[in-house]
């Protein structure tokens, strides 16, 4: 009895050690080495066949689901409609991928930034570029200069605000993880703690319910909300850029991705030849201007 049990135990412990040892052995090797990044800045070819995409001859682009207007249309990124869908296809075309070669993936906002193997080549999801975020992921150059805007219900006290000082005493809200929320905490510095919502949908509901006096979103989203979703709300105004540099949306790539320089090159080329401006005019023409809050 004793020997049998002891043997069993020994076998079990041996098995545990063996299992753990195999786990070490099987651990995947880093697929993207630092050399990828180094060569990216040099003379790496951006030709279609030579890009190290996730699936060769295919370009995998990720965005969140649902995809909101005016950035996408009808929650279908693959239809080419909406500003970001159009930009994604333009970048793909610039890199030599036809419309049929683009594969869309739905990746939650947060998961796009988590470390670990990425399943997409780049993510397009209204992500503002910042030096701090660049420590976690790679960004392409900016494809859209964005402004943040304040929305309030028509006729409310908040709707009459003409300056940042007028917003200070109000209950403000924004989506968490956005620069909109940063504008509230860094620029407005309200006396009441700002409400932070998981999604803009909840912020809109809270605005309609009167749970917040005003919400902050980017300007195109603000135009879409006031035009189509909360029609009894209006744009109070937009913020000036912080520190003089415009806030830009960039494509998100894996940290150290070999594609970064090629994608940046593609975005720069699209900006230069006027394609970005054309797409912006087509899809974001409503978002013309709003009074600036000082």
């Amino acid at each position: 009895m004793y020997t049998a049990r002891s043997a069993l135990r020994r076998a079990a412990s041996a098995a545990t050690v063996a299992l753990l040892a195999t786990a070490v052995g099987c651990a995947p090797q880093p697929s993207k080495t630092a050399s990828g990044k180094a060569s990216a800045s040099g003379n790496q070819s951006c030709a279609k066949g030579e890009l190290g995409t996730q699936t060769s001859d295919r370009l995998t682009i990720a965005t969140d689901e649902p995809a909101y207007e005016p950035w996408f249309k009808d929650d279908k990124p693959a239809n080419g409609k909406g500003f970001e869908s159009a930009v994604a296809y333009a970048v793909a075309k610039q890199l030599g991928y036809a419309k049929g070669d683009v594969v869309w993936q739905s990746i939650p906002f947060n998961k796009a930034f988590a470390p670990g193997e990425k399943t997409f080549d780049f993510d397009i999801n209204q992500v503002s570029i910042s030096a701090e975020r660049k420590k976690a992921v790679d960004f392409s150059s900016g494809y859209y200069d964005v402004r943040q805007a304040v929305i309030a219900l028509k006729g409310s006290k908040a709707a009459k605000a003409t300056s940042i000082a007028d917003l200070k005493g109000l209950k403000l809200g924004a989506q968490v993880g956005t620069t909109s929320l940063d504008y509230i905490s860094d620029v407005v510095k309200p006396t009441q703690e700002a409400a932070a919502y998981a999604k803009n949908d909840q912020a809109k509901a809270a605005l309609k319910n009167g749970q917040v006096d005003a919400i902050v979103t980017d300007l195109p989203t603000a135009f879409y909300i006031t035009a189509a979703e909360v029609t009894n709300a209006r744009i109070v105004g937009q913020f000036e850029n912080q520190g003089g540099t415009p806030e830009q949306f960039g494509l998100v790539l894996d940290k150290g991705s070999a594609l970064t320089s090629c994608v940046t090159g593609a975005v720069d080329a699209l900006r230069k030849d006027g394609t970005l401006a054309k797409i912006e005019k087509q899809w974001l023409s409503d978002a013309v201007d709003a009074p600036v809050l000082k």
């Binding site: 651990a27 947060n110 988590a114 993880g177 409400a195 009167g210």
Partner: protein, 305 residues
């Protein structure tokens, strides 16, 4: 384990000859000494093996994690000291909201849960509607996902624009939590009440206690005692679910971590929040153990009943 320790202690005492019984001139038999020596040896061997096995497992796990190809990146993203320091005060401030919600909702849940459980177990045809209502309540709120309950209460109720009804997401969220959790706790209490043997009630009634007195002095004390561990299980679960009120924009510990993570794309604030939650749960679990142990002790002495 404790038994082995005590026995090895005894053996040690034997060697010095200052056992309490030594004055009696009691000399342990060689067979007993032999047996105790053997037991000590076995205990030592077991401890050594356990220690070695723990050490090996720990070391292997450590090397698996540290030698993983992504460890450097994972370390910077999840265990950054800089972000931990930045997040700690803000997450702690958020945690205070969780704690307040836990205290208020926990008390409300226990009272409401007990009332519903009693309503469900009342006898007599006159209480039929009450029983049906209580059963319908538990069925509905146990089945309704908490997150949907929260969305309805936190975002739906204010949409009615009723006069005098709060729009504060924390108060509304607390109400939703209480609705759901009191249904769970009512079932815990009901299970406790039904686990008390019918003979207890019969005995109480035969002693001249009224139905009400039998419930109050005989059934409920036993029912509650049986249900303390599952009850605290529900409270610990409630403690973590208090964070869901952030759906209405309130900033709890997890949402405070969200805010920093959203700006920096660094996940360390979540680790800070997670550890704080664990730190909050451990005293609660120890408290449960203590309460249960105390109840057991009292019963062993033929205590309060």
């Amino acid at each position: 384990m404790t038994v082995t320790k005590e026995e090895s202690g005894q053996e040690g005492a034997d060697d010095k000859g200052d056992m309490p019984g030594a004055d009696d001139g009691y000399v342990p038999s060689p067979r007993r000494l032999e047996r105790e020596r053997y037991k000590t040896a076995r205990a030592r061997r077991a401890t050594t093996i356990a220690a070695l096995s723990t050490l090996v497992t720990g070391a292997v796990l450590y090397f698996v994690v540290v030698s993983a190809p992504g460890w450097q990146v994972t370390k910077e993203t999840f265990f950054s000291g800089q972000y931990a320091r930045e997040a700690f005060p803000k997450v702690l401030e958020g945690l205070w909201l969780n704690v307040r919600l836990l205290l208020v909702c926990g008390a409300a849940v226990i009272v409401l849960g007990m009332l519903i459980a009693i309503a469900r177990t009342l006898r007599g045809p006159v209480f039929f509607p009450l029983r049906v209502l209580a059963a319908a309540y538990t069925d509905f709120f146990r089945g309704l996902p908490l997150i949907i309950n929260l969305i309805i209460v936190v975002l739906g109720v204010p949409a009615l624009r009723l006069q005098g009804v709060t729009v504060d997401p924390v108060l509304l969220g607390g109400t939703a939590l209480t609705l759901t959790y009191s249904a769970y706790v009512a079932e815990v209490f009901r299970a406790g009440i039904e686990s008390v043997h019918p003979s207890q009630r019969a005995a109480a009634r035969s002693l001249g206690l009224s139905n009400r007195q039998a419930l109050r002095y005989v059934v409920l004390p036993q029912a509650v005692r049986h249900q303390v561990p599952p009850l605290l299980n529900d409270l610990v679960s409630l403690q973590k679910d208090t964070g869901l009120v952030s759906i209405g924009g309130a900033i709890d510990a997890v949402r405070a971590a969200d805010i920093i993570e959203g700006r920096s794309l660094n996940f360390t604030p979540y680790i800070v929040a997670g550890l704080l939650f664990v730190a909050l749960t451990i005293p609660m679990t120890r408290f449960t153990d203590w309460v249960t142990a105390r109840m057991d002790r009292r019963r062993a002495q033929g205590g309060t009943i």
